[in-house]
Symmetry: C2
Subunit: 185 residues, 2 copies
């Protein structure tokens, strides 16, 4: 049995149900950051995954036939996470998108959430604007924020939930854990 | 001091941070359902709010000047919740939108989330379709699902996280805790 468990965007966001899943797992897979967040509840074997790829997904699928396996996903497995890549039940977690909305006091029904990790997404931002919504973009330090600023006002939110959390308007992206709020002009 | 705390869509979704906020509050406001979810962690005074309105918001604002006040919001305060209506910090929670995405194995970046509670929103669904996304609609039993089905394939998801959870395709909406997944044809 495989459960994909969202551990939240930082420490302290594990839910009661997520904790139960982690505690009862025989094997817990996750990135270094995800294992770090969940480790105090891991009672089985913890396996750090350096890079998630098809080979790992196959290995997890095989192991899931024999044991209770939990695969940790930072944030929420259904927000540009592992939920679509691995077969199994999904236990939601608090995503950085939610932390961004909380900090900015903006409702999810006012925005379109866009994956801007290692992909061109300015077209999608324009489409969001077309239908009268602002955009919330999952980004990293390689994101071309200059191009985005040509047609949108941008707030950078970084390392949300961590001690070095940073929210600023006229600044560059320094972190790979970034969310951009792009507002129509 | 006022903190608006998301208690999640049902029992078991409280985060570690949300629990700490609730435990340390002198007064906890919330709907009957929200208090029910959080009650085992309430150490201060619990106040059930029958109907949230401007008068209550003013009362909470006043009380927040003197005491540590927590206002509970079912689901996430920033998903058609109390976050925009009350001044204060927001502590996110797991929303029914996340449970819907988890059950359907659909990513948040593939949909547009729309508030369909007591308001006409079919235009917004059409706009989501226009930009190539499906729609996730927060709805209740009064929602005109027939009209929606004229141009979309609809999955009804009700009482997510509760024992009477129901997910069905060719059915009516029976609950006021409903999410509709509207897919382009």
């Amino acid at each position: 049995m495989i459960t994909i468990v969202g551990v939240g965007a930082a420490e302290g966001y594990l839910t009661e149900r997520a904790i139960k899943e982690i505690e009862s797992a025989e094997v817990v897979y996750g990135s270094r950051r995800a294992i770090e967040i969940a480790k105090k509840y891991v009672k089985g074997k913890a396996v750090v995954i350096a890079k998630f790829n098809e080979e790992i997904y196959r290995k997890i699928a095989e192991e899931g036939k024999k044991r209770k396996v939990v695969v940790l996903s930072t944030g929420d497995p259904m927000v540009s996470g592992l939920g679509k890549r691995i077969e199994g039940e999904v236990e939601p977690g608090i995503s950085s998108v939610q932390l961004a909305l909380a900090r900015l006091k903006i409702d999810l029904t006012e925005v379109v959430v866009i994956d801007g990790h290692a992909r061109e997404c300015l077209d999608e931002v324009l489409k969001a604007f077309e239908i009268g919504r602002d955009a919330l973009i999952l980004a990293d330090s390689k994101f071309d924020i200059k191009k985005l600023r040509e047609f949108a006002n941008v707030v950078v939110l970084e390392n949300l939930g961590y001690e070095n959390e940073r929210i600023c308007e006229n600044c560059e992206i320094k972190s790979d854990l970034a969310i951009l709020f792009a507002k129509r002009r």
